[in-house]
Amino acid sequence: MKKTKVLVVDDEAEFAATLTERLQLRGYDARAVSSAEDTVAAAKSDLPDVILLDLKMPGKSGIEILMTIREYAPGSEVILLTGHVDIESKIEGIRIGAFDYIMKPIDIGELTAKIDKAKQKHTNG
């Protein structure tokens, strides 16, 4: 079975890299990026199944990146990473088309369950 392709987007490079490694250990084809430009490029070239997107990114807001992703990689499901219950951003994100959200610090079991659900939706179209 083809591995689920996950793109981890977070400006905290340490966080993104470590989470990516943990996902790889769990059998995901994960990759980390830490800037808005890299995110758009990776979304276009890799066509990930699921993108984990931090809502707080320097330069561009997570919502702006989400809109770009929707444009370039309409097939990818997005799970928002938030530091808190930021209801406005969450609602806005879901409205623009994010699949779900998860709060940091992350519970890895909860995250993988959400990734699998997003992948399922992605596969079923």
């Binding site: 905290e12 340490e14 966080f15 470590t18 989470l19 490694e21 943990r22 250990l25 769990r26 530091g83 808190h84 219950v85 930021d86 209801i87 406005e88 709060m103 940091k104 610090p105 992350i106 890895i108």
Partner: protein, 360 residues
């Protein structure tokens, strides 16, 4: 009879007596010069007398009119009847004015007290709002490194679990578990603090306040049994259904009732009552017969990280979060405490949603 007329009357009598005396003296002495001097003195005396009367009467009348106008303006229910003379009238006007001034002064004192209380509440709310913003800012900054610690420790656990057995492997795994448990504790704190400042999901639905209170009490049944406490519910029968967020309100009830249970000694009493305060507001009061909270501590009770519990027993966030929730729901939380008698928390909840706009 007016004072002016009285003076004129007295003057007339005096003049008649004076002239009669002059005539008697003149008749006895028989000298015309003497009688002219007496008449002249009488005329001069009359002029001086009139001037003196005018100087006394005119200011008296003016003063009387002023006192009356003060009394008339502020005390319209009192009819001002013209008195017999200016002095009596002035006295009565002054009495009325004094009464009015006393009334004004006491209502002014009352208004000042109320203003002072409102100011204190505003200052308190603003202080908590500032503290909330600071706490949320700190929590946000701490949350990111916390997320990194969480991932690093998690990755170490992942790797260790994949490794074959080696010396101290179990110990390492246990240590990492300890780190994860602490991270989770911190996560609870940061999320609470962030929740205070952020607009969280408020789901308004028709709800039964009595039911929510009963559920919260049942949720704490174990604590009540373990401490052998008498927990009384006095549910208002006339309480209508309200429109609010049941989940959030239950969180507040749990926090406050749990605090009451913690506050009382074994065998103590916790009394929860509900009812209608006025046509727009319901209330829930939670009273305990614990030791009470001294006033210097009571002032800080809603501040973040303030706790009267033993170290490690409370985070000091329960009431802070409850305060934030109540604000979000347009409700309020009040506390009264008496040393040796106990503490009462009163939650005043609008029957219909009245959202509190803005961030704390």
């Amino acid at each position: 009879m007016k004072l002016g007329s009285k003076l004129a009357f007295s003057f007339g009598i005096s003049m008649v007596l004076f002239i009669m005396l002059g005539v008697m003296v003149c008749t006895e002495s028989g000298t015309a010069t003497k009688s002219i001097s007496v008449v002249l003195a009488a005329v001069l005396g009359a002029v001086a007398y009139r001037r003196l009367a005018a100087r006394i009467v005119t200011p008296l009348r003016r003063l009387d009119e002023m006192a009356k106008s003060v009394a008339r303006e502020y005390l319209p229910e009192i009819g001002i009847v013209d008195q017999k003379d200016e002095i009596e009238s002035l006295e009565s006007s002054f009495t009325q004015m004094e009464r009015r001034l006393k009334d004004t002064l006491s209502s002014l004192e009352l208004a000042t007290t109320r203003l002072h209380e409102k100011q204190e509440k505003l200052v308190e709310a603003e202080k908590l709002a500032s503290l909330g913003r600071i706490a949320a800012g700190v929590a946000h900054e701490i949350n990111n490194p916390l997320a990194i610690i969480n991932e690093k420790a998690g990755l170490m656990q992942d790797i260790l679990r994949m490794c074959g057995d080696f010396q101290h492997k179990e110990k390492f795994l246990n240590l990492l578990d300890g780190i994860m448990v602490s991270v989770n504790r911190c996560r609870t704190i940061t999320h609470h603090l962030l929740g205070f400042a952020r607009r969280i999901d408020v789901i308004v639905e028709p709800m039964d306040l009595n039911e929510a209170v009963t559920e919260a009490k049942e949720f704490l049944a174990n604590d009540i049994v373990l401490k052998n406490i008498r927990a009384e519910l006095h549910l208002g029968e006339d309480l209508p259904k309200i429109k609010s967020d049941k989940g959030l309100l239950e969180q507040v009830f749990l926090n406050v009732i749990k605090n009451a249970i913690d506050a009382v000694e074994e065998g103590g009493i916790v009394m929860v009552s509900t009812g209608v305060k006025d046509k727009n507001t319901a209330f829930v009061s939670i009273r305990d017969n614990g030791p009470g909270i001294p006033s210097d501590k009571l002032r800080h009770i809603f501040e973040p990280f303030f706790t009267t519990k033993e170290r490690g027993k409370g985070t000091g966030l329960g009431l802070f979060v409850s305060y934030g929730i109540m604000k979000k729901l347009g409700a309020s939380i009040l506390v009264e405490s008496e040393i040796g008698k106990g503490t009462t928390f009163t939650l005043e909840i609008p029957l219909h949603p009245r959202f509190w706009e803005g961030t704390v």
